[in-house]
Amino acid sequence: MSRIIPIITKKENIAIKPYKFDKNNYIYLGDVINIVKIFSDLCADEIIVLDIFSKLNLDLIEKITKNSFVPLCYGGGIRSFEDAKEIFKRGVERVSLNYLARKNFDEIRKISEFYGKSSVVISFDVDENYLVDGISVFELVEKYKNFASEFLISIKHKEATFSGIDKEFFEKFDVNVIANCGVSSFEEAKNLLKENLAVGVGSVAFFKNQNKNSILINYKEGK
C-alpha cells in the first residue's frame, strides 16, 4: 500500500542528511525529537528513524516515540532479540533490521516469531549492481520474506542525489518494499504512490531544492 515515508537518519540526537551513504559527509538538520514531532503533527504516513552510527540509545527512543502519533519504525544498532524487546517497550511499532539480516538470521527469526511478521522491516543497502555484500538483494529478500512484512531497500549511490527513484528495479519485487534513495521531488513521490509503491523520502522531505540550502518546513502530505 502506498505511503510517503520520511526517513530520518540520525547521529545521537541530531538528524543528519548524508550524501551517498558517506557517514563523514552530511548536513546537519536539527534535533531529531523536534523533527519527528513536526512530521507527526503534519500527519506523515509513517516515520522511519535510523541511527546510522548503530548506537542504541533507549532513553532517546522513548523521548522520540512520545512525539509521534503516526506509526514509527526504528532501526540502528539492533543486535539481538533483547534489543528489539527493549525498543518495542518504548513505543515503536516496527523495527528495521539491517545488521541482523546480514549477520544473524536466528535473531531475526526470534523477533519475528514473538512480535509477528508485521512488526519486522528488513533493510538492505544495495550497490550499483543491486548487491548486498556481494549477494543479490533478490536472493536475500527471498530468504527473509517469511520473517518480515516489508523491506526497506536503499540504493546507496543515489542518496541525496535527486536523481529519481529506480522504479524499474523496485517494481520487480512481489513483497512490500519501501523504495529509498533518489527521489527527485515531492511530485515524483506523489506519482509513485499511484503505482502502489511505498516511497522513502530523505532529502525531498527536508530541502526545498537540490542545492540543499534551504530547509523545508512545510512538508505536506499530498492526499
Binding site: 507527526s40 504516513d45 502519533f69 506509526p71 511499532e93 512480535y115 508485521s118 512488526s119
Partner: protein, 169 residues
C-alpha cells in the same frame, strides 16, 4: 484506565497521556473500569498470558486494538492457542500475499492498518474497511467489548478523535 503491558502498550499510553487521560500500564485490572488491549505481536505469545485475566476482564469495558481485538475472539489462524472468546468468531488470514500496511478510509475518517489477519464481517461488525472489493471488520462491538482492526494510537488526529469518542461514551 488500564493499558495491558502487551504489544505497543507505550504508544497507547502516550496518546492517552497526551489527550489528558489518566492511564496506567498494568496487569492489575481489578479496580479499573476501562481496559485497553494493545496490538503489535503474535497471537500465541500474548494469548498465553492474557487468558489468565479472562474472568476479571469480561466484567470490564474493553477496547482491543488490532491483535488486541483478535485476542478477544475465539481463536486465530495466526496461532494455536485459544483467545478470550468474548466474540464468538474466528480470526482468519488475509487472502493476500502481502501484509496490509497503510492508511485506509473508514466512513469519513482514515486510520492506519498493519495486519495480515482479519475479523470477517459478522453480526458484531459496526465498521467496515475495504481492500478493493474485499471487505473486513474495521470495528466490532458487543455489550462492553469493542475491537478495532486499525491503530487509533497511530492514526494521528483521526485516531485521537476516535479514542476520545470511545473513552467518553
Amino acid at each position: 484506565m488500564i493499558v495491558l503491558p502487551f504489544g505497543n502498550f507505550k504508544s497507547v499510553f502516550n496518546i492517552l497521556d497526551f489527550l489528558g487521560y489518566k492511564a496506567k500500564i498494568s496487569l492489575d485490572i481489578k479496580n479499573s473500569n476501562f481496559v485497553i488491549i494493545p496490538g503489535v505481536g503474535s497471537f500465541d505469545s500474548i494469548a498465553k498470558e492474557i487468558i489468565e485475566l479472562k474472568e476479571i476482564l469480561k466484567e470490564k469495558k474493553v477496547l482491543g486494538i488490532c491483535l488486541g481485538m483478535h485476542l478477544m475472539c475465539e481463536s486465530s489462524e495466526e496461532g494455536k492457542l485459544k483467545g478470550l472468546g468474548f466474540f464468538d468468531i474466528k480470526v482468519k488470514k488475509l487472502p493476500f500475499k502481502k501484509t496490509k500496511i497503510g492508511w485506509q478510509k473508514v466512513e469519513d475518517e482514515k486510520y492506519y492498518f498493519l495486519h495480515s489477519f482479519y475479523v470477517p464481517i459478522n453480526k458484531y461488525t459496526t465498521k467496515i474497511v475495504y481492500y478493493n472489493d474485499f471487505k473486513i471488520s474495521a470495528e466490532i462491538r458487543k455489550d462492553n467489548f469493542i475491537g478495532v482492526q486499525f491503530h487509533p494510537e497511530k492514526s494521528g488526529k483521526w485516531g485521537m478523535k476516535y479514542l476520545k469518542k470511545i473513552i467518553d461514551e
